[in-house]
Amino acid sequence: MTTLTDPPKGNFRLSQLIYDTRYRSITIQVIAMILVLLGIFWLVNNTIQNLSALGKDFDFGFLSQPAGYDINQRLVEYTSQSSHGRAAIVGILNTLLIAFLGCILATILGVVVGVLRLSKNWVVSRMMAVYVEGFRNVPLLLWIIAIFALMTEGMAQPRDFKVGGDASMILGDSVAVTNRGVYVPGVILENGLFGSAVLNWLLILAVLIASIVCIRILSRRADHIQESTGVRPTTWYQQLALLIVPVGLVLILMGAQLQFPYLKGFNFTDGIHLRNSLIALWLALSLYTGAFIAEIVRSGILAISKGQSEAAAALGMRPSRTMNLVILPQAMRVIIPPLISQFLNLTKNSSLAIAVGYMDVRSTLGGITINQTGRELEGILLMALFYLVLSLVISGVMNVYNNRTQLQER
């Protein structure tokens, strides 16, 4: 038998810090720490010196000063008398809006294209391949600018929509695509329960969420019944009713009315005006990210081994049920993490809004505010912080989801 010998317990010598593996890691870390701290100190010191030489200080007071510039698209109340902080919030909301819209459209596009790319139909799969390669290999900025140019140069002027003009509204005279933007019908609440429109819409949203929760409970119960009796109760009409009726009731109660855009003078009024900048950015971001998502979806489906679908077929499952119950749940596990990272990319890429003048956080806080107040350091710091927090939140959500769906391995 061999016996374990303890390392010699002699007196600690200084050279052990370098030669003894027990202490060396501490030495390395301390040195790394010192180097990093020295670097940070050097940068901060330089900054302090430069700032004082320019007669500037490090102060966030500018956020409460009046901004003095207009923002053409705003989700919350804002005028040019509002503060820079308010302008930043308007910008943040615009960033979140474009990110939200973009993620939805990109996911739809990506899933459809990813599935179609696997289609046995040669023409369809080739066409999807052309779309994917075309969008993946050309800079996003070029797409944004090109779509913006298409909107402003290629579309009809509002006055062409006059009777006898060259252009006409589409979808039953409800949508007008003009070179100043797209006009779609809007919903107005004639007698809202609250004074502010935002609160009214929040109420509707809350009702919608409550309905969805009820639908979830209903389908859980159906699952239970199916598991215990083997017969699944038909619930789709209940679910549909749950989805539509409460929201519909609230809308009717508030006197909701569709407002169609119509031509007045040389421009359209009423309805919702989606500016070219929003449309171009939205479409370009969605088409670009959709191409990446399509590849993710495709590889996710391909990653499920053929044996799974063969086994499902052996059990007598129809192809659609095989897809829904066997392939997709497994593919989702592969698809979700890169999908979320594409959402992150889309959110970060929305900062390209500057190319078309969409007023996102980079254009308000990181653009006009910086130019007007000369607070580059504070402005860029706040903007970076916003994007960082957004990224961390999204990746945090992704990790939670990932941990929940991860295959429990031994």
Binding site: M33, N46, S52, K120, V138, I354
Partner: protein, 784 residues
């Protein structure tokens, strides 16, 4: 077994029958792949329709484009002479004119060979990495030297600058070798870092300046003499180029005149066409009015029918009914008015803007096609169209709300007759028009060909003009730069002599200054309540210090130019276009690879602090968009560096892009490291390899192999993202597209430029992606 019951047993197999025709070859493929079910059929038809509608839009535009033109207006002239506005064509002439600019930005054309050589050498430098088994191993040294060589080729400057820059690494290696024997690896690493920093930060610039000074002093007299001679002869050369340029411009003006003559000639041929076209517009408007009048009559009849005569309320009607009746009566009155005004409008359209068929000028066309004359003569005369309408107007005047329904029906029928006559007239005119165009088409072929030839000649002339004006510009720059260089050479001795005096003044002032103020760098750093004398003293001191700095910098500049042994330096602002994208992309990826590997190892490391530092760095960089980092580079980097440092924007962008790409590469390589089985790490440990040995020999080669697709994807992403430098004032291809559009000649051009730039990026990125797939397959060792 009863064999006798079996009547027949086949002993050999029957030959296989050929499958039915629809189960073989192309038909089978089409049936299986395109039309296998109703959904598939629908998809196929829909996608074929989509492809057709896109191609039918793009192909005629792209292939009917114009390649030779000096401006968008000229493009449109040529397009009009071919298609007469019936369809649009691309103006590829802008690409022909500006493609070099999109590739190289504002880089001097005579020096294009430098970036091209650097690009070609890139492949030599990549050879040891891409084809390790086919090229000699020594080529790796060239790969190591390549970054310095390429930077020197692109930016120019003295030949020792890249060598000195590279020597920093050599110094680090030497310091490491010496120290690792004396004091172990940790000290050696720190020493190497210190040696490189000391060399780059403190020794490199003075030694380089010294070399310039040495070479410069020995050349001084010689240079002055050559410069004097050169500046004497240059004005004559510029004048000669000027004369050439003027001659060329005259030639161009002549060619333009010839082109315009051809255009006029073509207009002359088409004059008959144009004459007929003028008729169309008025007649069509008149037709619309007639149709409007007929509609009004029928509306009126409807109202009268509904109310049984003129709308009026019964005596006992309610208020609502009275209002209704009133409204109907008003509408009826309006309609009565409309009928009259529409009819007279139609008449005045015809009377004012149309001519009698006999007055249509078709002499030359009718010569070519006599049937035209018959067509014209069979057309209704002008009076034949107008008179019925005039009669209708007279009848319409008598129309009131009391008119009987039968009369209205009658009137409507007559209006429709008149409108039908007009419609037939327009159709006849259309036939004539088509025939005239057909006769003209033959006559136009020859001038069209001549026009194309002429535009080609014009383009060639303009290219010559560009060459001449470029060489003139070169000579002029040489002259002005030579003159200013001469004057700076003449003042060189004086400036050099003034340096010690200025320095003496600085020292003097510094001695006078209170001790606590000596480190200040700006007056507004002074604490409140400083005496004005002190303040003045400080500002004088700072001014004197600034003088010393600027004079010594100008002396160094002059010596730098005087003693330059190497290539002409090129300013970063002149670098642009696709070249800029390549420089930033390639520099970013090459520099970020080592950094990314270190970060990935750090993130996998068990050393707590190192690990956390790397995690924070990677997450912060990845969490913020590149555009924000670029703004940081352009707006904030000056804050973070020591006061007074100011360096090249392209270099700043490269640094920022490198840090950005390093974080992404680190994540890719971390994935590769995590994908390796633990056995590999344990195996390396059990062999007794140290950490770095095991990484270098066992782990990284495998991890890198797994990471290749990810690294290439990062590179493609980075390459596409280089277009973002547009926002901080550098001219990437998209920025150049804007610059080209700012030129009045090409104002209004969009798609041609977008397509060209998009194609450039597509070809580059797509082939990179395909290459990475190929590499992945080649390096695949296991069977899956």
């Amino acid at each position: 077994m009863n064999n006798s019951e079996i009547s027949f047993v086949r002993t050999e197999m029957l030959p296989e029958k050929a499958p039915p025709a629809k189960e073989t070859g192309a038909i089978k493929w089409v049936r299986q792949n395109l039309f296998s079910g109703w959904l598939n059929i629908l998809l196929t038809v829909l996608s074929l329709f989509a492809i057709y509608s896109v191609l039918s839009l793009i192909l005629p535009w792209a292939f009917g484009g114009v390649w030779n033109a000096g401006s968008l207006t000229e493009c449109r002239e040529v397009l009009f002479s071919f298609y007469k506005g019936s369809h649009d064509g691309a103006c590829w002439a802008v690409i022909e004119d500006r493609w070099l600019q999109i590739m190289f930005g504002f880089y001097p054309p005579e020096l294009y060979w430098r970036p091209i050589l650097a690009f070609v050498l890139l492949f030599v430098a990549l050879a040891p990495i891409l084809f390790a088994d086919k090229v000699p191993g020594q080529l790796v040294w060239f790969s190591l030297a390549y970054p310095f060589l390429a930077a020197w080729l692109v930016w120019g400057g003295s030949v020792w600058l890249p060598i000195f820059a590279a020597f920093g690494f050599v110094a680090a290696v030497i310091a490491y070798k010496i120290l690792s024997k004396l004091a172990g690896p940790i000290v050696a690493n720190l020493g190497a870092l210190a040696a490189a920093l000391i060399w780059w930060g403190m020794l490199m610039a003075p030694i380089s300046d010294g070399l310039h000074k040495m070479v410069g002093s020995s050349r001084f007299d010689n240079t002055v003499a050559t410069l004097n001679a050169r500046t004497d002869e240059l004005p004559a050369q510029v004048a000669a180029e000027d004369a050439l340029l003027e001659a060329k411009q005259a030639e161009i003006a002549e060619a333009v005149a010839v082109k315009n003559e051809i255009l006029i000639e073509m207009t002359g041929i088409r004059i008959e066409e144009f004459g007929i076209e003028e008729q169309f517009e008025a007649k069509e408007v008149a037709l619309q009015r007639l149709d409007g009048a007929s509609e009004s009559v029928s509306d009126l009849a409807d109202i009268l029918d509904e109310w049984g005569g003129a709308p009026a309320a019964a005596s006992d009607a309610s208020e609502v009914d009275i209002a209704k009746a009133q409204a109907a009566a008003e509408t009826a009155e309006d309609l009565v008015g409309d009928i009259g005004s529409l009819l007279s409008g139609a008449l005045s359209d015809l009377a004012g803007d149309t001519v009698d068929p006999s007055e249509l000028l078709v002499p030359s066309a009718s010569q070519a096609d006599p049937s035209i004359l018959e067509d014209v003569s069979s057309m209704v005369s002008k009076a034949g169209l107008e008179d019925p309408i005039a009669a209708l107007i007279a009848r319409a005047e008598s129309v009131t709300t009391e008119t009987s329904e039968a009369d209205l029906k009658d009137l409507q029928a007559d209006i429709e007759t008149a409108s039908a006559a007009l419609g037939a007239n327009i159709e006849a005119l259309q036939t004539v028009h088509d025939k005239v165009i057909a006769t003209n088409a033959d006559a136009l072929v020859e001038p069209q060909a001549r026009l194309l030839d002429q535009t080609a000649i014009l383009t060639a002339l303009r290219d010559d003009q560009t060459v001449i004006s470029q060489s003139k510009f070169r000579l002029e720059t040489e002259l002005s730069e030579g003159n200013s260089f001469l004057s700076s050479l003449q003042s060189l001795n004086e400036r050099e002599a003034s340096l010690p005096i200025l320095q003496g003044r600085v020292d003097e002032l510094k001695a006078e200054l209170p001790r606590n103020m000596r480190n200040l760098i700006a007056v507004n750093q002074l604490p409140e309540g400083t005496s004005s004398a002190d303040e003045r003293l400080l500002s004088e001191y700072l001014g004197a210090k600034n003088d010393v700095l600027s004079v010594s910098a100008s002396v160094n500049d002059t010596y730098g130019e005087l003693g330059r042994v190497g290539l002409l330096p090129i300013d970063s602002r002149k670098i642009g276009g696709f070249m800029l994208a390549l420089i930033i992309g390639i520099a970013g990826i090459v520099l970020s690879l080592p950094l990314g590997i270190l970060l990935a190892l750090g993130r996998q490391s068990h050393l707590f602090i190192v690990n956390k530092i790397c995690v924070v760095f990677i997450e912060v960089i990845r969490g913020v968009p590149l555009i924000v980092w670029l703004f940081t580079a352009s707006l904030l980097l000056n804050y973070f560096l020591p006061p007074g440092t100011n360096f090249d924007l392209v270099l700043r962008v490269i640094i920022m892009v490198t840090l950005f790409a390093a974080a992404y590469i680190a994540e890719v390589i971390r994935g590769g490291l995590a994908a390796l089985p633990t056995g590999q790490y344990e195996g390396a440990d059990s062999l007794g390899l140290s950490y770095w040995q095991s990484m270098q020999l066992i782990i990284l080669p495998q991890a890198m192999k797994i990471s290749i697709p990810g690294i290439v994807n990062t590179f493609i992403g980075l390459f596409k993202d280089t277009t973002l430098v547009l926002f901080i004032g550098l001219f990437d291809p998209i920025g150049l597209a804007g610059a080209i559009r700012a030129d009045t000649a090409w104002n209004g051009i969009y798609w041609e430029l977008f397509i060209f730039i998009g194609l450039l990026f597509f070809i580059f990125c797509f082939s990179m992606g395909r290459y990475s797939l190929h590499l992945e397959k080649k390096l695949q060792r296991e069977h899956r």
